[in-house]
Subunit: 439 residues, 2 copies
Amino acid sequence: MVQRPRGTRDFTPEVMNRRLAFENLLESMALSHGFKRVQTPIFESLDLFTAKSGPGVVKQLYAFQDKSDRALTLRPELTAPVMRMISEEMRSSPKPLRLSYFGQCFRYEESKKGRYREFFQYGVELIGASGPLAEAEVVSLAIDMLDSCGLVDYEVRIGHVGVLRDILTGLGLSEEGEPEPPVASAMRLLDKGDWDGLAELFASSGISSSALDNLRKLAELDGGSETLDSAREILSALEVSHESLDELAELLAALSALAPTPPSLKVNLCVARGLDYYTGMVFEVNVAELGGEGQVLGGGSYRLLHLFGLEDLDPSCGFGLGFDRVLLALEAQAERVGRSEVVPGETPRPSTLVMPFKIDAHAVLSIVKELRDMGHIVELDLRGKNIGKTLDWASKNGFTNVVIVGPQDLENSRCSIKNLTTGDQNEVGLDSTSISSVL
Amino acid sequence: MVQRPRGTRDFTPEVMNRRLAFENLLESMALSHGFKRVQTPIFESLDLFTAKSGPGVVKQLYAFQDKSDRALTLRPELTAPVMRMISEEMRSSPKPLRLSYFGQCFRYEESKKGRYREFFQYGVELIGASGPLAEAEVVSLAIDMLDSCGLVDYEVRIGHVGVLRDILTGLGLSEEGEPEPPVASAMRLLDKGDWDGLAELFASSGISSSALDNLRKLAELDGGSETLDSAREILSALEVSHESLDELAELLAALSALAPTPPSLKVNLCVARGLDYYTGMVFEVNVAELGGEGQVLGGGSYRLLHLFGLEDLDPSCGFGLGFDRVLLALEAQAERVGRSEVVPGETPRPSTLVMPFKIDAHAVLSIVKELRDMGHIVELDLRGKNIGKTLDWASKNGFTNVVIVGPQDLENSRCSIKNLTTGDQNEVGLDSTSISSVL
């Protein structure tokens, strides 16, 4: 028997209904902020991702060769494809561009709850605009999206890689070097909280241990915008410019007007997101309910095009939202917070089964058509069972109403309508207007 | 420079907007007929498609092996995956099931207009119900979909493989045999209109040439339901049962109530769709504008599960709609028929740019937020250019309104709103309620 490939999922109508409601919600929120949907292919040239993430990424990719020996891969994420698309199709479009995207991504790894080999990402990119206002537009959209789908108790952590870069270069570490520039190594260690590794790196570069202590103090700062004052003192002690911190302060001020009510917004200057191409603000959203797989969203300001051998535009800013993980979080929270819908808008519209009983079905077909034309969801009964069995089937299948037309009904131009939600039964004329009035 | 893989496409916001409108339209029509969306993975076990279409299909597939040497392939179509899903996930769901699906499919072949290596298919399957009424439900949905998106001058051709099978087995051809059963060979030749090939096959099987003449007469029938009368005469001459024809007649009668107005509905008993698994009604929709690539939709009644080593359910009935091709046809027809929208509903909603001019942008941020909360599409201007350049940019980017707030405005708690569609300019109070009232 042929089976579904490992790490992939099928979505049944019930599950898919929720996913579509969620997608529509994200889409409508992105649109209200001016972000318009684009779409790129499911597979790309392998180069696109090795340029962005290094050759080591290949072992996590579904890479393959086509019949002309081109090296292709299923996409592992969507930022690089969108940037590639812009360079090919939209270089002359007036900037800034506000783009959104949604689709499958693929990652070859052991599958477990919240991590699938085929997973779904929703994201946005604001391209060709930089600075605190642009960043605030992006972060506020993330918060609006999570709020609108009813997520609670999530934590937004915002940092700025400029702060760390300024500190590390100020200490004399280089941004160049093979196999990994010392600044990049240090940021990776900071992102992981590997202080022993960092101490070793500093010692081998002749950097004083007091610098390490100051960095540790910086890392321990984790709070609201008051954190910035403490950070300023540390930067002064390290004789580092406050420029990046000032940008972050302006972003937080803008955010307090654009998205005033996230459950928890924390400044953490050691959020580095482990990737080289971020240039400014970086942010992540975590949901405690999901434990170790709790990061549901992440992004920041970046420059990427030069990695593909292309002329860079102004910096861009964006985020990716883990569609599957946010859904898991919503499902985990729904019962605790007493929400009747896991995703707002997921409740299906009322639907009607039209059942010709012991009559020629042709007598009801134009009524079926007319009810559909009026906007009702209507199925013609195709099972031809008795009334009890049909009501039972309709009930199991979530129908709201069953219109029954028997021989006597047909003779009198009448029909019975059973409402399966209320149990009410109505008898009305056998025409679409009369039936529609009680559905 | 990294490029898009050959035969794939990027969809810019303008193009994507149309595609989303089209998808929503198909979705809402499917839903009104009771068909609910499901989704399956982008790749499947290679077996799934070789079982359905034979090993020859591999050369047209994007087949690859994962790191555990599993033979996988990007899906070339969606019926087999949906049937696989039903066998794994929905065997106990009460039948009949009405399912719809939409997504990318992949075909390794030379790409040309209307044929891409990554293409999109929308389709439906009615599973576990058979007979003329079930078939009429499916065909009427196809017609409603095409009508609702505004397609004109399309031709629906309906046949029934049972008629040909009855004739061919009646003539003594076998449904068994290697490498291809004689009945399958004959149907393939008929589908292609290869009469010489068929004459050869008949001669080698000792079938009289008068049978061939009768078949040719049958193939030449191509018209409305009156065609069935002529077909009945031919079947009588061949001493073949009328059972399949009677089913087709009943389907056409039901269709005349459920979907009374397709531009052209023709019966053609040699539509065989070239595939073995069809068991009853088969149908295709063609659009003349598209020339040789004019088939935009096709389907029929089939049995498929046994091909995957699974117990068969009742016959199913479904169709696949070529999403890209129908769009091409709509684009080709739009000008000729004078439609203002290529796809109904594609016109974007009005959108507003809020421009802080020579003032601190923070003064307008809560207004931006409140307008979004009210449901408006709002962007904060991030370019900081002068008013003339900003209006020009806004106009090029399709904004409906620009809200301008300068230093004087801020002082007086006023703002100017320029409507870029009408050219009107309004001055209103600097609060979201006043602004919203003129957007």
